[in-house]
């Protein structure tokens, strides 16, 4: 190896190599780093375990409801109570039951682990200083990190939906879907609505991911960041339940998460959905900007 006279040229590979532009293309280079980030996040055993948990939950919930709840009418008023009444008639509803149950803590924690670890974990290992010295570029690295968090949240949500559908189909009858508003739609349209519900929940998790990313830039202790995100979620959910604080409810980060039931009405309650998506967007932009401002200006001391 010798010092290149023209430092801009990449190391000459074997054979003819007119391909410098390929490596130069910023989009391709970005995708390469994104791919490496996805491999790191999805290849990590801890994270694979988290995804395995999201597989197990819908199955367990499905079995439990099949065995223990032949008379769903007495189902109380917990999250997704309306869905329980429908499940006996249609397995598709297991998706909504599983999503609304896991949205309370499991899905947020899954996202919190990856988001909290994203920057703080690198800082803790000391790999952050080497990534920046490569140089990965601070803004670029942050964007890749956020994209990977979003992908992980999407993966977890899709897994819950897919496994719920499969479990529901195996344990309950499946057919045309009776919506919460009473109308019945064909199974295909029901499945389309399942897809929209999944994407809506993934959007909620992406917003949480932005909050987690911002918290992650504040510390080099991943576990602290993860705990902080989880506490934030639980606090927000508790405050949202206090009637005296109803005025601030709509501004809480978790308030609109369960509003996906708007998709299961005819006509779809778009105003509620849009408010939810607006809330997610505002939280993502706000905390994404905070993360960026912090990450691009702070000394890396780890």
């Amino acid at each position: 190896m010798s010092t290149a006279e023209a430092p801009a040229l990449p190391a000459p590979g074997p054979g003819p190599a007119p391909a410098a532009p390929a490596a130069r293309n910023p989009a391709r280079a970005w995708l390469r780093l994104f791919g490496a980030e996805l491999r790191l996040v999805f290849g990590r055993r801890r994270n694979q375990l988290l995804l395995a948990v999201t597989v197990v939950f819908p199955v367990v919930i499905g079995i439990a409801l099949r065995v223990a709840a032949p008379h769903p009418q007495g189902g109380g008023n917990g999250p997704g109570a309306a869905f329980f009444n429908q499940l006996a008639g249609n397995g598709v509803f297991l998706t909504f039951i599983a999503l609304s149950t896991l949205l309370i803590l499991v899905l947020p924690v899954v996202v919190a682990v990856v988001a909290g670890d994203s920057v703080a974990g690198e800082a803790g290992y000391g790999t952050l200083r080497y990534l920046l010295a490569v140089p990965a570029g601070r803004t670029r690295l942050l964007a890749v990190k956020f994209a990977a968090i979003v992908m992980f949240g999407l993966a977890a949500t899709v897994i819950v939906s897919a496994v719920s559908l499969a479990t529901g189909a195996a344990l309950f009858p499946v057919g045309p879907v009776t919506l919460l508003s009473g109308a019945t739609v064909p199974l295909a349209e029901g499945l389309l609505r399942v897809l929209f519900v999944t994407l809506y929940v993934a959007a909620a998790m992406a917003a949480l991911g932005a909050i987690g990313l911002a918290i992650s830039t504040l510390t080099e202790h991943a576990i602290g960041a993860i705990a902080a995100i989880a506490i934030l979620v639980v606090t927000s959910e508790v405050v949202d339940q206090v009637p005296q604080l109803a005025a601030i409810g709509p501004y809480l980060p978790t308030h609109w998460w369960l509003s996906f039931d708007s998709i299961l009405r005819a006509p779809v309650d778009t105003s509620t959905l849009l408010k939810g998506l607006l809330s997610f967007g505002v939280y993502a932009v706000l905390f994404g900007s905070f993360a960026w401002a912090r990450f691009t200006s702070a000394d890396v001391t780890s």
């Binding site: 290992y125 080497y130 010295a133 690295l141 890396v300």
Partner: protein, 309 residues
């Protein structure tokens, strides 16, 4: 052109502590620059600023003619570095760890990556352990993997922060040989250490830090020349010799039981000797002694344990 230069580079921590105090670095192209100083003298903070990891409080710095931190993303791919010890993902193998860093380099060609990784591992003798998880590496192997990471691309400048920290003498020798080899390829090497002895054999230039200030910088022979020579006389009449020194205008005179010495200054040793003999001092031995590099270094940085600031 200079590989590294800075003017008035300063870093004040939020607590108010002045970690780096107006240093003007000048590392010529092709040099092996030993960046010396005790632990806590500001070496690592300086390196962090050069690599764009920390932002200077004031002053400017340039790497290969490009201002940092502003242009860090344009120039750092030409610079290999090891900062404050190795850092990798414990759950990945050595090879996968290097692939991770290479993927972050937007100027690296992914198709040549496997070959470049193998070559870098080969150079540091880690190829046999390439598939082993990093967490199972010994300290020496970790250090060598970090050096391999800095060699993934052809570099014009390599910055090594305490590359021999925690290594046994054998490992230290290996790193020294590697530094020599890298320098022989024409790469400028900037290597920090708190031990002069570790870098003295490979350096062409040195900079010496003390409590955030650069107290010496220049070619190694120049540091040697700064050592003030002393004239030392073995004699039974040390007090008499000291009187002669005084009449000759020599300073810092010292008298021992059988020995007297003084700073030589501009005086001719021959003249001093003749005067001693002329004054009737029984001269048993006469010598001019220059301090060792180690003595000079300690003189510049202070004895160990005196952490100022």
């Amino acid at each position: 052109m200079t590989a590294i230069s800075s003017t008035g580079l300063t870093k004040r921590f939020r607590g108010g502590q002045l970690a780096v105090d107006h240093i003007d670095l000048l590392v010529p192209n092709g040099a092996v620059y030993g960046f010396l100083g005790p632990n806590g003298s500001g070496k690592t903070t300086t390196i962090r600023m050069l690599l764009g990891l920390a932002f200077p409080t004031s002053g400017q710095a340039e790497l290969l003619g490009v201002p940092v931190p502003a242009g860090a993303n344009r120039v750092l791919h030409r610079v290999g570095s090891l900062v404050e010890g190795p850092a990798f993902y414990p759950f990945l193998s050595g090879r996968d760890n290097l692939a991770r860093y290479d993927a972050a380099d937007r100027t690296a060609d992914p198709r040549t990556m496997p070959d470049r990784i193998s070559e870098a591992l080969e150079r540091v003798g880690l190829l046999p352990a390439a598939g082993k998880r990093y967490r199972h590496y010994s300290l020496g192997m970790k250090q060598r993997l970090a050096i391999a990471a800095s060699l993934l691309r052809p570099r014009e400048l390599i910055i090594l922060d305490e590359p021999t920290n925690g290594l046994d003498p054998q490992g230290t020798r290996e790193v020294r040989a590697l530094v020599r080899q890298i320098a022989a390829d024409g790469t400028t090497v900037f290597v920090s250490s708190h031990l002069l002895a570790e870098v003295e054999q490979v350096c062409t230039h040195v900079g010496v830090m003390r409590t955030g200030r650069l107290v010496f910088q220049g070619p190694l022979p120049e540091l040697r020349r700064t050592g003030a020579a002393r004239v030392v006389v073995q004699t039974a009449d040390a007090d008499g010799a000291v009187k002669v020194f005084a009449t000759l205008g020599l300073t810092d005179t010292q008298a021992g039981p059988d020995e007297a010495s003084a700073l030589l200054g501009d005086a001719e040793p021959e003249h001093v000797c003749a005067e001693l003999v002329h004054a009737g001092i029984g001269v048993r031995g006469f010598s001019v002694a220059s301090p060792s590099l180690e003595d000079l270094f300690v003189g510049l940085t202070g004895e160990g344990f005196d952490v100022d600031g």
